[in-house]
């Protein structure tokens, strides 16, 4: 039921923003199908009435005042960027 074809893998790869060559598509389809077969086993579990468990932290998320607590660290924020200009991150042109 969960066998992935090359077209599906191509779509997943694009959603993941990972460039995959034609040759790699076949191998990936095999690997991902194998993993999906493995997780398929869950379908047999009766989860009637079970609430999804998103976090084991038995906490109410804490709130704090909405105020600026740090800042003035432009140099630090930009320190590891591959390309910067005038205090900004630089990316390829996105608007024609």
């Amino acid at each position: 039921m969960s066998s992935l074809d090359k077209e599906t893998v191509r779509k997943i790869a694009f959603l993941s923003r990972i460039k995959v060559s034609e040759e790699e598509l076949g191998e990936l389809a095999g690997d991902l199908t194998r993993i999906l077969d493995f997780i398929e086993e869950l379908q047999e579990v009766d989860v009637e009435g079970a609430a999804p468990l998103t976090s084991v932290a038995d906490l109410t998320l804490p709130l704090r005042k909405d105020e600026v607590t740090d800042g003035n660290i432009q140099q630090k924020v930009l320190a590891n960027a591959p390309k910067t200009d005038a205090g900004c991150f630089v990316v390829p042109k996105v608007i024609e």
């Binding site: 993941s16 194998r34 609430a51 468990l53 976090s55 038995d58 390309k83 390829p92």
Partner: protein, 492 residues
């Protein structure tokens, strides 16, 4: 190897306090050991100059009578913790050259308590793996050798940390554990590994893999050392919203040696088909040791155990696919693009070149199970089964104080084994993943050797925020087992 690298954290702490040696001397001994064992590839980045500076400062601090809990003790840091001004790679090419501008909370706590950093240890890329073979910086070799002398994996993902501690290249090391990444390598390398309760240690500044599972913990040579180090790492942190606002107990004080009347559960579901005799024997021996010490050992059931691994391999990749979206070649890390490339081209080339195969597979599986049309069938279903697994433990802890299981289904395997099939590798975590999904503390203690002469570990799982009980029982197990074997070349 010198006597100084063979010390436990506790002994080194006491020796420093008595003035038997200085932190600089301790640190120099470890720097020499690191240099002598570089072929094991335990470290990605060694920081000897910084270590000596920290050691000098520590000796000065001590002279003024201001010693912290880990004052002057040289340790290794898994290269998943952001360390200010020291390269942090997560063992990925995509973060090669990344120099954090801030310090993770856990390392800040350790250094605030006086610990000295020797360097950043190797791991599976983004902590995704059980063998250290997915590191971009080469695999780590286990200091232990079997009878055939083959190079073995140290386990993973905290394999460099485990190898460094077992190989006397650090007195102790930090690890992180998402599905077994502290406990399994600890077992493979014959050391102690403690994954605390989710929320005990801050995740702030730790490169994220699966945020609902990731937890930092100590990797040491004794249970007492794990207790000391956890006390210096843990604590509430306002910068991590899942960090528990709880006081940090004196974990070392839990080592009373007395477990009389404690109830310890043996889950029948962990006796999996095809369990090797040597693992079954190790487990039986552990049961006998705890009984001899006066504990009440009882059979329990954790009925959803067999669904833990498939659940984990949906939840963890789903969270990873979101967390790793940040590696886009814009704000930090590597960027790959050619003239005329669009933004999407840049993203796709950067991520194809920057991530290794296992990381790419997990991102894609995570993307798939979260995508429209599959979210309910896979991701939401997995979260519901996770609830069942959590309830299994809650029910068991209604009657028992802790659970005893093997840590891993085998001893360390040879470099290159289990690589042909991703699922085969996943099976290494069969005994560690359930406690991760339930957020429970898990402690691996070395208690015996395999037929091939390799270390094997037993795991104690405790109630939420009851590390003290697992430490207490772990201490008894450690004493009873008397595990004193050392890797080849380090005997005597």
């Amino acid at each position: 190897m010198t006597d100084l690298t063979n010390l436990t954290l506790a002994d080194a702490r006491d020796g420093l306090a008595k003035g038997d040696y200085t932190s600089v001397e301790l640190t120099e001994a470890h720097i020499a050991s690191m240099a002598a064992q570089r072929k094991l590839n335990a470290y990605i980045t060694e920081t000897p100059e910084q270590a000596l500076e920290m050691a000098k400062a520590s000796d000065t601090k001590r002279a003024k009578g201001e010693a912290g809990k880990m004052e002057g003790l040289p340790i290794a840091i898994k290269d998943l913790f952001c360390t200010e001004n020291v390269q942090t790679t997560a063992a990925s090419h995509i973060l090669e050259g990344f120099i954090p501008q801030y310090e993770s909370t856990v390392t800040a706590n350790l250094f605030g308590n006086g610990a000295v950093m020797l360097g950043k240890t190797n791991l599976d890329e983004f902590a995704m793996g059980s063998s250290n073979m997915t590191s971009y910086y080469g695999n780590v070799i286990n200091p232990w050798k079997g009878k055939d002398g083959k190079d073995l994996v140290p386990g993973g993902s905290s394999g460099g940390s485990a190898a460094a501690v077992a190989g006397r290249m650090a007195l102790a090391a930090t690890g992180t554990d998402t599905g077994g990444s502290i406990r399994q390598p600890a077992a493979y390398c014959g050391i102690v590994g403690l994954k605390p309760t989710y929320g005990r240690c801050s995740r702030w500044g730790v490169v994220a893999f699966a945020s609902s599972l990731d937890q930092a913990g100590p990797m040491t040579r004794t249970v007492r050392d794990a207790a000391i180090m956890l006390g210096a790492m843990a604590g509430h942190d306002a910068k991590d919203s899942t960090s528990a606002p709880m006081a940090v107990p004196d974990f070392e004080a839990a080592l009373s040696g007395d477990i009389r009347g404690m109830k310890i559960g043996i889950p029948k579901e962990y006796r999996v088909d095809g369990m090797p005799d040597e693992i079954a024997r190790l487990w039986d021996d552990g049961v006998a040791m705890l009984r001899d010490a006066g504990a009440d050992v009882v059979d329990i059931t954790l009925p959803h155990t067999k669904y833990a691994l498939p659940t984990y391999y949906i939840v963890a990749p789903a969270e990873a696919s979101s967390n790793l979206a940040r590696y886009d070649g814009v704000r930090f890390g590597q960027r790959v693009m050619e003239d005329g490339d669009s933004l999407d081209d840049m993203y796709m080339k950067t991520r194809a070149a920057g991530f290794g195969k296992e990381v790419q597979r997990r991102i894609m599986i995570g993307t798939y199970v979260l995508s429209a049309g599959y979210y309910d069938a896979y991701y939401n279903k997995a979260l519901k089964v996770r609830r069942r697994i959590y309830e299994d433990f809650a029910n068991a802890f209604g009657t028992v104080d802790a659970v005893l299981t093997p840590t891993a289904p085998s001893a360390a395997f040879a470099v290159g084994e289990n690589s042909d099939d991703p699922v085969k590798m996943y099976l290494n975590d069969v005994f560690t993943v359930p406690a991760s999904l339930a957020g429970l503390p898990g402690l691996s203690v070395p208690t015996g050797l395999s037929d091939n002469g390799l270390p094997l570990g037993l795991q104690l799982i405790g109630k939420p925020f009851d590390e003290e009980t697992v430490i207490r029982i772990g201490g008894v197990l450690e004493t009873a087992a008397g595990f004193d074997a050392k890797p080849a070349g380090l005997e005597g």
